[in-house]
Symmetry: C2
Subunit: 239 residues, 2 copies
């Protein structure tokens, strides 16, 4: 299926104090839909393992009209827009139960060698170009984000429960580091309209993380997290 | 149904670096099974809301032969053992896919007034005594745990993503604070044989948490967490 559509329920464990789905969980569902569709097309992680590769998310953007609440059913539609030499663009549309579009998202994926962690050419995946639909996402591509300086707003060490089966911090957790820089009052007063993330480096057990934040324009926040001095990601949240 | 039995899959998001289910997730599933069975019996949280009450977990104990892994299917059997004036004892058995018992658990629940947070007498729940089966759990009751002193091993503040729809930190998160006191090497070398927890006070947004730990005998660890000087819980992990 060139375009996959998958349904999910918002379980009570994955909502915030206002019953709204947590950003990290919503993106977890979007990535789950990616995995399902890639598997259907024959280019899931299991297939990539055969050529010694795996998918990693490089850039991501999301725009939401509103965040669905506890017990809501949503559907996520996903398709590959383009396949280039070293990356592929995958888009998403998020629907509510009434079938209305409540969000749009777009992402850039790279195949890396599992051992060397270096990018691999996508021509190694025979037939993958046939899945390019050339259908746009409806929102602007993920921004390339600049460094954020100043003093860290938060610092902490990576612990046992932060580490997943791939022996690193799952990228969706980076989103928690951003949203946790806002108070409950700020979350009550605002809803995220757009998110951009540039994923740059893995974070591993014992790393000391420092989070940086800057408001570059009204309600336009830039983030950077460094793990032992190496940039883990850069992000943007626009209310 | 006096005895309920519910099936769950261990999803990849909920395992640790060794593919073993995270302790907090396993207990989340046990509490989910409690909720399902209480609902079936007519004494779920929705019913308690009608008398102005809600269930809170007071004590908990778990013994595991091993922790199930990613993609494993488990079943959790649960029943009420006894109903007293102010609390009820609920037991659990955890089965693997082959139908073998891999764990046993027992818990003490109290009904509190939603507004005052004070205990309520269970005779307010007409008919609840009929669900007492007088069937034991197969393991010793949850220990009453003593205070743990010394210097805190960890300190942190409660943030936006820690707060659930009840405006506090969900008790299962307390388990993360315990297991995070061990390194990946310690987790690799050991498996939790028995867990005891005494749940004492809610933790809310902005609280400053201090975690204390003491090894009272070989592989027998005691924990206490204080949130703004009030004891949130005491715990024990035995490898």
């Amino acid at each position: 299926m060139k375009v996959g559509k998958f349904s999910f329920n918002i379980a009570p464990q994955f909502v915030d104090f206002q019953s709204k789905v947590k950003l990290s969980h919503l993106i977890d569902l979007i990535l789950t839909a990616s995995g399902y569709n890639a598997d259907e097309n024959g280019f899931g992680i299991r297939h990539l393992h055969k050529v010694g590769g795996t998918w990693v998310l490089s850039r991501f953007a999301l725009e939401m009209n509103y965040f669905p609440k506890e017990y809501e059913k949503i559907s996520i539609e996903t398709w590959v827009q383009e396949v280039h030499t070293l990356n592929t663009i995958r888009n998403y549309r998020v629907y509510n139960e009434a079938g209305e579009v409540i969000g749009n998202s777009t992402s850039v994926w790279v195949m890396i060698n599992i051992e060397t962690r270096r990018p691999m050419e996508l021509k190694l995946l025979e037939g993958i170009h046939d899945f390019a639909t050339f259908q746009e996402s409806g929102i602007e591509r993920p921004l390339k984000l600049d460094a954020v300086g100043g003093e860290p707003i938060d610092q902490f060490s990576i612990k046992y429960t932060d580490i997943d089966i791939n022996q690193h911090v799952n990228t969706v957790h980076y989103l928690d580091w951003m949203v946790n820089s806002f108070t409950l009052e700020e979350h009550k007063a605002n809803s995220i309209k757009r998110l951009d993330v540039n994923f740059m480096n893995e974070v591993v057990y014992g790393n000391r993380v420092a989070v940086f934040k800057e408001e570059v324009a009204e309600n336009d926040f830039r983030f950077e997290a460094k793990a032992d001095e190496k940039t883990a990601f850069r992000g943007r949240i626009k209310f």
